[in-house]
């Protein structure tokens, strides 16, 4: 049964991708409904799979000696993330029915979204390191294609290529890690790798651990690779909600959580993870404070919240990080889709040109505020419980400076969330305009996500149970929902965090009285607007590459004879190496 479900979760969206493409762009109505149908079917299959969670390998497809077997294991981590990917995926597709109405080339749009949903489910369900890499790269490719969907806009094309190149850096780290693991254990199976990890030479294990950390940081947009995510906001908003908030960017956190038992004892690894997470959280929150583009603020807050998850893994809170991942997927998809509804009616992403939208779009305002409260971490929404769990794990097992930083970032989060909400919905409208609230399909997805934001924290108990029974290597212990609730409510970290969050909210409320402080920090704000110089670092690398290419360019003579010399030279080297390594001529 589990095998059929897994095939359905991956296969149905891919089949849908082909069907939508074959239907052709002359029949947009059919395309809308086909895409929605296939994604909803995949979402239902993923929900049913949650009942069949186990640590058994249920699918094993031989792929030859070189590639190892293509295996799938529906364990708690994989099944839960597959459910998030397919369900948020189908809600994004339903939202698109309104959002993309009247757009050209819907076939390309829906095909890539469905292709992405299947690949994301495959990424989290496979237990083969090599195929993990393959699915990883498919998600990068679809992400690139969808960021550059409006391919007559140079900014969209540049953003897509930037995302592709930076995530490729991570892909190289992943491949290096996977090959090193294969070379030392003789298998691509993740389970076998986790078992044998402690017998590997320390240096090899370090290479694998840090390779995977680079991969995760690039995919999850963590410092210093975070610069691609804000530029990826040129994508259509449902794509941003699905790929760049709820699913693909979580792949990095997923990999860290999956391999945590193998890497936790590698010297310096946990410290590096804590550093990456907390610095990303802080820098992104600061940049969110000063950004004026609605989607960019949300992108920065995504980086910041992913920083929380990475930090949680660094301090050993695998459950807390995955729980925050669940909450974040739901409330951030909600925020993005609500922002999409706003952008769709106003026609701009600049928050300075919005304002006063609350009266015109009451439904969107209500769900956006629910999402905003969850992002800020206020009770009793799902973001509150999971963020407090992360902070509690940090206080118990992590360094104090990192905990202090994360609590401070919680205050910043409240501040920029309040700022964003009041700039968009509060105040008075700047000019006469004709605004309509979200359409029916939009309201349906927004409503479901809002209900999710209010309720997913109730799943803490079953979720922990599912993870602990199917992930033997992680040694998690399950507790009931009410134990989690009691733990959070009585923890000293919670009061502290709530206090700081209240301070953040108060700071925006009384910002006029703090004007002096604002002037004092003016230069710092400019620094944050410029992205703390990471963009010039990128430009430096690009320029150096171009310069190097220019320098070695004359080597290409364009003459066939010289190419033959090159080929012969290569042949001689290979033959000499073969002769040396096989012992001939020694």
């Amino acid at each position: 049964m589990a095998a059929i479900l897994i095939l359905a979760i991956i296969g149905l969206p891919w089949l849908g991708a082909v069907c939508v493409w074959l239907v052709g762009d002359q029949r947009p109505r059919t395309q809308h409904y086909l895409a929605a149908g296939f994604s909803i079917a995949a979402g239902l299959a993923a929900l049913v799979l949650l009942l069949f969670v186990s640590a058994e390998t249920v699918i094993r497809i031989p792929a030859g000696n070189f590639f190892g077997d293509l295996t799938f294991v529906p364990d708690g981590l994989g099944a839960f993330l597959a459910a998030v990917a397919t369900i948020v995926g189908c809600l994004a597709v339903i939202f698109s029915i309104d959002y993309m109405r009247g757009e050209e080339q819907l076939g390309r749009y829906y095909s890539f979204i469905l292709f992405f949903i299947g690949a994301m489910a495959g990424l989290v369900l496979t237990s083969s390191l090599l195929f993990l890499f393959v699915f990883w790269e498919i998600t990068a490719l679809t992400s690139y294609a969808l960021i550059s969907f409006y391919n007559d806009d140079p900014k969209a094309v540049a953003g897509g290529i930037k995302a592709l190149i930076i995530t490729q850096v991570g892909g190289v780290g992943m491949l290096a890690g996977a090959l090193a693991a294969y070379a030392n254990t003789g298998s691509y199976e993740i389970g076998i790798f986790l078992e044998k990890a402690h017998t590997l030479p320390a240096a090899t294990l370090s290479v694998i651990a840090f390779g995977f950390l680079i991969a995760a940081a690039a995919k999850s947009a963590q410092t210093p690779f975070h610069t691609w995510l804000p530029d990826a906001m040129e994508a259509p908003t449902p794509v941003s909600a699905l790929i760049h908030a709820a699913t693909m960017v979580n792949a990095g956190v997923y990999v860290l959580a999956r391999f945590y038992p193998a890497f936790e004892d590698v010297p310096g690894w946990r410290t590096a993870v804590i550093l990456v997470g907390s610095i990303s959280a802080l820098l992104a929150a600061l940049m969110a404070l000063v950004a004026n583009d609605l989607k960019r603020v949300l992108a920065y807050s995504t980086i910041s919240q992913l920083g929380y998850m990475v930090y949680a893994i660094g301090v050993g809170g695998v459950f807390a990080s995955q729980f925050h991942l669940l909450s974040h997927s739901v409330f951030k998809a909600l925020l993005f889709l609500a922002a999409g509804a706003v952008i769709h009616s106003v026609g701009t992403r600049d928050m300075r040109q919005m304002g006063g939208l609350g009266k015109d779009m009451p439904f969107t305002r209500s769900v956006f505020i629910i999402g905003g409260l969850a992002l800020a971490g206020l009770p009793i929404l799902n973001g509150f419980w999971s963020k407090e769990l992360v902070l509690e794990a940090g206080l118990v097992d992590g360094p104090v400076w990192a905990f202090g930083l994360m609590v401070f970032v919680a205050g910043l989060t409240a501040f920029y969330t309040y700022r964003m909400t009041s700039m968009v919905f509060g105040g008075s409208s700047p000019a006469e305009r004709h605004i309509h609230d979200a359409g029916q399909a939009m309201k349906a997805s927004l409503g479901l996500l809002a209900i999710g934001t209010l309720t997913t924290w109730l799943l803490a108990g079953p979720f922990g149970q599912m993870l602990s029974t199917s992930l033997p290597a992680h040694q998690l212990h399950a507790v009931g929902t009410w134990v989690v609730v009691e733990e959070v409510v009585t923890a000293p970290a919670t009061l502290l965090a709530l206090g700081v969050i209240a301070l953040g909210l108060a700071a925006w409320q009384w910002r006029k009285h703090l004007a002096g402080l604002g002037r004092l920090l003016g230069g710092f704000g400019q620094l944050a607007t410029d992205g703390f110089g990471f963009e010039s670092l990128n430009r430096g690398i690009v320029n150096a590459t171009l310069k190097a290419a220019d320098t070695i360019r004359p080597l290409q003579t364009g003459l066939l004879n010289w190419n033959v010399v090159g080929i012969l030279g290569g042949l001689v080297v290979v033959l000499a190496w073969l002769a040396w390594s096989t012992g001939i001529g020694r």
Binding site: Q556, L559, L560, N561
Partner: protein, 106 residues
């Protein structure tokens, strides 16, 4: 030396090396596109001979011969396409000199 040539396999091996040397030398010095195709043919013939020779030496003559036949067929296609390209280049550039048509020069 005479003993070396007594074994027919060695003679064939010399033939393979000779054809290979001629082919590579030709590839290095030829500037004409059409001549390049002809030189390539010599090079491939050395490979065909080597296949037959390897089949005989390895005791699997049938395999060697069938592979040789395969190479002959695929090589014909290479020659045809190469010559067609040569004709096109001649028409477009007015010359078949490789130095004149080196548009990939950095």
């Amino acid at each position: 030396m005479a003993a070396f040539l007594q074994n027919p396999l060695n003679v064939f091996a010399l033939g393979v090396l000779g054809l290979l040397g001629m082919g590579i030398y030709g590839l290095l010095i030829t500037r004409n596109m059409i001549k390049m195709v002809a030189v390539l043919q010599i090079l491939v013939k050395s490979a065909v001979l080597a296949l037959v020779l390897a089949g005989k030496a390895g005791g699997n003559i049938n395999l060697g011969q069938s592979l040789a036949a395969t190479v002959i067929v695929s090589d014909t296609i290479v020659a045809v396409i190469g010559l067609a390209l040569g004709v096109q280049i001649q028409r477009r550039f007015g010359t078949a000199d490789l130095k004149e048509i080196a548009t990939l020069k950095g």
